[in-house]
Symmetry: C2
Subunit: 105 residues, 2 copies
């Protein structure tokens, strides 16, 4: 399912990626980072999809919570591996969610 229980304002980190051919340990590390992120202060949820490109959006209470997660030691090590091995290119955007609309059949 998708994250749908949040009340603006809060923050979204949009992480858009193109992976390289070398994906050794990628899935394992990605899953580990998702679990670790979900244990951090201010974490609100995460949605992820991949085909030609990957888009992962994580949701956070405050900008300070995003900075703390950025500075997490295990996350920093994983990010360095990502730049070294897994990613050809990525773009990371920090956004303030101002409005939200949901639909559920």
């Amino acid at each position: 399912m998708i994250v749908n229980n949040l009340k603006p304002p809060y923050y979204a980190v949009i992480f858009t990626t193109v992976v390289s051919e070398n994906l050794e340990d990628y899935e394992k590390t990605a899953q580990k980072m998702e679990v670790l992120a979900s244990q951090q202060k201010g974490f609100l949820g995460i949605d992820s999809a991949r085909n030609d490109i990957g888009i992962t959006v994580s949701y956070w209470r405050t900008l300070e919570d995003i900075t703390a997660w950025k500075n997490n030691t295990e996350h920093t090590l994983a990010r360095n591996l990502g730049r070294e091995k897994w990613y050809r290119t990525y773009q990371l955007r920090i956004c303030k969610v101002e409005r939200e609309y949901g639909f559920l059949k």
Copy 2:
């Protein structure tokens, strides 16, 4: 490739979806809407990925540009079909992109 040439501040619309079994005309309409969106005032780019869920993020210059695209007649018809036929659930978030970091190998 991914959208990577933008300078904050600008706006992102994060559209997260779960589709139903009835996907008649879905791909055709989704592609048509992407082309139509790209012709609108203030459109800056779009990234899209799908596996279990779909995530489409479109980028816009201003909130007014997003409202104008929301009120576009063809887009409104497509959105109504989406609610009627294609989507089990979706979440739409309007966000201000405040900071951005890129990586290119």
